[in-house]
């Protein structure tokens, strides 16, 4: 296995839009600018950023859908644009709102077709299908047509379709969008477990902080097509979670929530200066990851 699953050097993509009028020049929109990053094999990386930041464009370039206007990339040691057919055997792709299963066919038939397309032997196909369908609890759904499945059931089957050929790298774009809490939990724990057990590299783009927190160890923040932040999940929490929330619950069941910054405020001073009556509980909470990301986005925008 390659040491690095993904390497990009000054990867850039511009879109050109021709304005109406013969002599008017095309306007350039830089979607990704000089993006250089490395992702080690087996890493689970969240690729985050506000809408229009360039996340999807980057993922599309790395999966060979889009051709870059500059720079280079290696995915599983393969140049995505020069060897697309070799690449598709090494990557799995899940796009939350797209389907790769045949709508009218039973799931098993779609998966069999994919297994044949990926040149899996019958034994390999059977073993892999059993493993995945048991882990994702879809064994009883395999003979049902895709059109009869709920979104959560279909998504689990989509994941099987993406992992059937045991790819080295899995690209996930909003994999839990529209799913209920239980389905989200199942998918997240499955993906984490699969990555740990098989050493699959995961590159996740999601606006759901739950996905990011549960699946990924590293966070890449991108905005205006450039890499803004590259840090681990733990560092993100400690570095950017400097603010705290104090929740005071009174005996009558009511509660108050205070926000303070330990870097500038003394917590003992804060507690002494406040007058609380009939306190039954006091908790100090970290802000949710969602809020940290929102603040990072705001900081970027401003």
């Amino acid at each position: 296995m390659e040491k690095y699953a993904v390497i990009t050097k000054n990867l850039s993509k511009s879109f050109y839009r021709k304005e109406h009028g013969f002599f008017r020049p095309a306007t350039e929109t830089k979607a990704v600018q000089d993006l250089s990053l490395t992702i080690r094999s087996g890493e689970c990386v969240a690729f985050i950023g506000p809408n229009g930041a360039g996340k999807s464009t980057t993922v599309k370039m790395l999966t060979s859908i889009l051709y870059p206007t500059g720079g280079s990339a290696l995915v599983a040691g393969i140049n995505p644009w020069e060897n697309r057919s070799a690449l598709c055997h090494q990557i799995g792709v899940i796009f939350g709102q797209r389907s790769q299963l045949w709508y009218h066919l039973p799931v098993r038939d779609s998966l069999h077709l994919l297994a044949v397309a990926y040149n899996l032997s019958e034994a390999e196909e059977k073993k892999r299908l059993q493993e995945l369908s048991e882990s994702l609890q879809v064994t009883e759904l395999l003979d049902r047509p895709v059109r009869d499945l709920s979104l959560g059931q279909r998504m689990r089957c989509e994941i099987i379709a993406s992992l059937l050929h045991s790819p080295q790298i899995l690209f996930l774009d909003e994999p839990t969008i529209g799913l209920d809490v239980e389905a989200k939990l199942l998918l997240r724990s499955f993906l984490k477990q699969e990555s740990e057990a098989k050493g699959i590299t995961i590159l996740l783009t999601s606006h759901d902080t739950g996905d990011i927190e549960k699946i990924c160890h590293r966070v890449l923040l991108i905005n205006h097509g450039s890499l803004i932040l590259d840090t681990t999940m733990n560092r993100l929490k400690t570095q950017f979670m400097s603010e705290k929330y104090i929740r005071i619950t009174h005996k009558d069941g009511s509660y108050q929530r205070f926000h303070f910054d330990p870097r500038t405020e003394d917590i003992t001073h804060f507690l002494k200066s406040s007058t609380f009556n009939q306190v039954s509980d006091l908790t100090i909470e970290n802000p949710p990851l969602e809020e940290i990301i929102r603040k990072l986005y705001q900081k970027e925008v401003s």
Partner: protein
Amino acid sequence: MRPFFLLIQSSFKFQKKQLPVIGTRLVLLLILICIFNQFWQIVKDGNSATAQINPVDFIWYLMIGALLQYSRPEGLHYQIEQEIKTGNIAYKMLRPISVISIYFFSGLGSFLFRLPLLFIVSALFLLVLKGGELPQTFDAVPVIFLLLLLSGIFISLCTVFIGLSTLWLQDSLPLFWILQKAEYILGGLFFPITLYPQWLQEIALATPFGWIGYGVSRLIYDYTPQAAFETGIHILFWIIILLIFNHISYTFLRKRIAINGG
């Protein structure tokens, strides 16, 4: 080749679930045959030009031409159009199997399922309707059937091309509408093109429709090995042309996706 056979097999499975729809098409086909059977009888009685073709030959001619229409994979061009419009097609290109092949073999599978079914039932119906009277060159049925299969390849490729026309026209319906009407008129669906003015006959035979429609259907009353061979060669020629067109469209699609994304 195995994935392609599987695609055809999968299409068969889907078609089995479409039996009520195919049944409805069959009923419509049989009604069409009845109407034209009666119509041709009246026309023939009063028109010497049509006297060269007897009613039994004509109704078999009509049935074979209509089979192509009724066996075509409906909705496939619309499915391709939607996948282009939504950008889904870009994600389907990430599979180790050509997306054009997926569409083509799904369409062909649907055609191959419907054609024999409609052919057998319609032929039995015609035998009953005409009191067991057979057309002049009924022996040519196996050859006609082979040419119909070849026409099915053409029609499936044509349907894929119509779907891909969304890339230029933003919609596949205009081209579908034009080609369908061309099939009716230039393919001689309702009347053998020998009844057309000479100039229109020449135009019809300069297009693929004259060969997949009239060219195949006329063999039921005017079969010669040379005529069958000529028809087969022409259909093959147009299949190659469509393969080139589809390849160009696919290259254009790939280029557009690579530049603009899904």
